[in-house]
Symmetry: C2
Subunit: 200 residues, 2 copies
């Protein structure tokens, strides 16, 4: 048997994870092969724990414990039902929560529109967003989307679909990141920061 065959199979599975390419998957698999013992049991146990205990909230798309749906964020009575923050990915919710600057509800799209490739967004999550807004509690939809072409298309589409609902649709400010310098900003960022300039 060729010892590379199991390595290549493991590398191929690793490569399905985000940010892992063919060569980095191989490096990871070789690290596993060279492990003196603890890594594989740790990884298998942690994988099983996530698989068995963690699921997605059917309402907002954020992480939740298997037997709690909707999730703790959706059920928290202390949060503002009139503010709905739309993100692309559950990871974005973690980061916004860490910033401690938002106390409304969330809605994760789990993707975005990709005009070039026809579509790309799991449409059901978009329709679920419009249904949630249609329930009548939401006054403002905050689009916390990324800044690429697909995210812009998704933002435009959501805005268009919600025009007649009377709900305010806003988007995170574009500008110079905190701690950064104008000298390091690209021209698109500078143009958007100028466009969005604010009175001091």
């Amino acid at each position: 048997m060729n010892p590379l065959a199991p390595i290549n199979r493991l590398a191929a599975v690793f490569s399905k994870l985000p940010g892992v390419g063919k060569r980095s998957g191989l490096r990871m698999a070789l690290r596993v092969a060279r492990d003196p013992g603890g890594l594989v049991p740790d990884l298998v146990a942690a994988l099983r724990e996530v698989q068995e205990q963690v699921g997605a909230c059917s309402r907002c798309g954020y992480l939740t414990v298997r037997d709690q749906d909707p999730c703790a964020l959706c059920e928290d009575p202390g949060r503002d039902d009139t503010l709905l923050c739309v993100v692309e990915d559950p990871q974005d919710i973690i980061l916004i929560e860490e910033s401690g600057s938002f106390r409304g509800r969330y809605h994760a799209l789990l993707g975005k529109l990709s005009p070039r490739k026809g579509e790309g967004l799991a449409k059901p999550r978009l329709e679920a967003l419009f249904r949630r807004v249609g329930e009548g509690k939401v006054r403002e939809v905050i689009l916390a989307l990324n800044t690429d072409v697909e995210s812009d298309a998704t933002a435009a589409y959501i805005h268009e679909r919600l025009t007649e609902s009377g709900v305010r649709v806003t988007r995170l400010a574009f500008g110079i990141p905190a701690g950064s310098a104008i000298a390091y900003s690209d021209s698109v960022t500078l143009a958007r920061a100028l466009q969005g300039r604010q009175v001091v």
Copy 2:
């Protein structure tokens, strides 16, 4: 229970793999949490297979099937025992084999000397190299090491230790990579390519 706890535990284990940082480990763990079903069983099976079937060759450090030691490369009667190619990592052996341009034997150091941090190289692999050379068959040691400070220190150390053995010690050529342009080369690469210039 906080659904982030199992995610963070999985992310921490992922971060032990080479090239995976804190944030990329988290992204990978979130991908696992969102998986509709196939990923975890595939990953667990592939991890187990590598753990059970693949080991390191005690002679050259390359991958081998658990019950075959020394490995197929070490045992292949068609290879040249007088040429010994020294690499830092088993992955480098895979790449050199893919290039099809070497038919000697290999020796993986599984690390390198790190003068700044005292040492860093698993010394036994270096001593094993000197023992192999001492067996008398090897005529040329080809250092296929990387190009950073630690690799240079390792090359210098091996060269010094083998000076009195009468064995030829060579190192892979430094120069402009194939398919690249002089305009894209940094000054160190250019200086080394000039130094190593060859008659056409």
